[in-house]
């Protein structure tokens, strides 16, 4: 999946936002259905889901936020290969939950993966990731040549 620029006009008014949310919800239902989310069963290895992501570009870095509630940080792997950032992992069901008698299951379990193509080069050795309150924040500093350059114009 490549990066799609966020279009702020989509959120200008209440009803367009609602419409956008509705479209997203419909997409989610279809995505889940065709990827086996609805019929997901751990024993078939089909169970997977897609975490929500925010990506912000700053002058010196990219900040990627991934929603991973209830995922242990040891179960997450982040890789960067020729400008493709991949976040993958697995959300495991708690042991005591497996033994319980279920009334309702809405939360997603199983494997997840998301990949993004970054538009500019990144310092591979300076990538930082922090996991707090269910959100994984990855900071990717841009390489020197990718930073916006400011040229000073002298006024005589």
């Amino acid at each position: 999946m490549s990066l799609i620029r966020w279009n702020p006009t989509r959120e200008l008014t209440g009803w367009t936002n609602d419409l956008f949310n509705m479209q997203r919800e419909i997409n989610r239902v279809f995505d889940n259905f065709f990827r086996g989310g609805v019929l997901a069963d751990e024993s078939f290895g089909l169970s997977y889901w897609t975490p929500a992501v925010d990506i912000t570009e700053l002058d010196n870095e990219y900040v990627v936020k991934v929603e991973l509630p209830g995922v242990s940080k040891d179960d997450v792997k982040i890789t960067l290969e020729s400008n493709i950032l991949t976040i993958r992992g697995e959300k495991k069901q708690e042991k005591e939950a497996k033994e319980g008698n279920y009334h309702r299951i809405e939360r997603s379990y199983g494997s997840f993966q998301r990949s993004f193509t970054l538009p500019t080069t990144v310092k591979n050795d300076k990538i930082d990731a922090v996991y707090k309150d269910g959100i994984l924040t990855i900071t990717l500093p841009k390489a020197e040549e990718a930073k916006p350059k400011q040229i000073e114009v002298k006024v005589k």
């Binding site: 799609i4 925010d54 570009e57 299951i105 809405e106 309150d133």
Partner: protein, 131 residues
């Protein structure tokens, strides 16, 4: 005067449109509910919320959960991908009888709120020994 007012309204609404984050987005957090021999357990996904911003309240027959994400007052102009944003989580559950309301516990860890509602002795499964 009338013209001035119109100008104010216009610029006012434009300022609001530029900051969509200021509108409160309320979502229903997804939840798992299960039952063990001792308790009912509710798990809610509420990523991005600070623990201090979560409130759990119990009224007769009702469990009410709310969490508010710390507002970012400005949308960064160079947001490339946006699916999370800022939002509040609100959800209500009906509670049946047979719950010890004074012993309800809530724990927030890794973006998941776990509420444990212990059962009263009357509703726990009883093993009857056969003589």
């Amino acid at each position: 005067m009338g013209n001035n007012n119109a100008a104010l309204t216009r610029s006012g609404s434009r300022a609001l449109m530029r900051q969509p984050e200021l509108r409160e987005v309320v979502v229903t957090p997804v939840a798992d509910v299960y039952e063990t021999s001792e308790a009912f357990i509710v798990k809610l996904d509420m990523p991005g919320v600070d623990r201090d911003q979560i409130s759990v309240s119990v009224e007769p027959g009702r469990l009410f959960v709310k969490g508010v994400m710390a507002a970012q007052h400005q949308v960064p102009a160079n947001m490339i991908f946006r699916e999370i944003g800022t939002r509040s989580y609100v959800r209500e559950f009906n509670l049946g009888d047979g719950i010890r309301r004074d012993q309800i516990q809530a724990v927030f860890e890794d973006g998941v709120l776990t509420i444990t509602l212990p059962k009263t002795d009357e509703v726990k499964a009883r093993h009857i020994s056969i003589k």
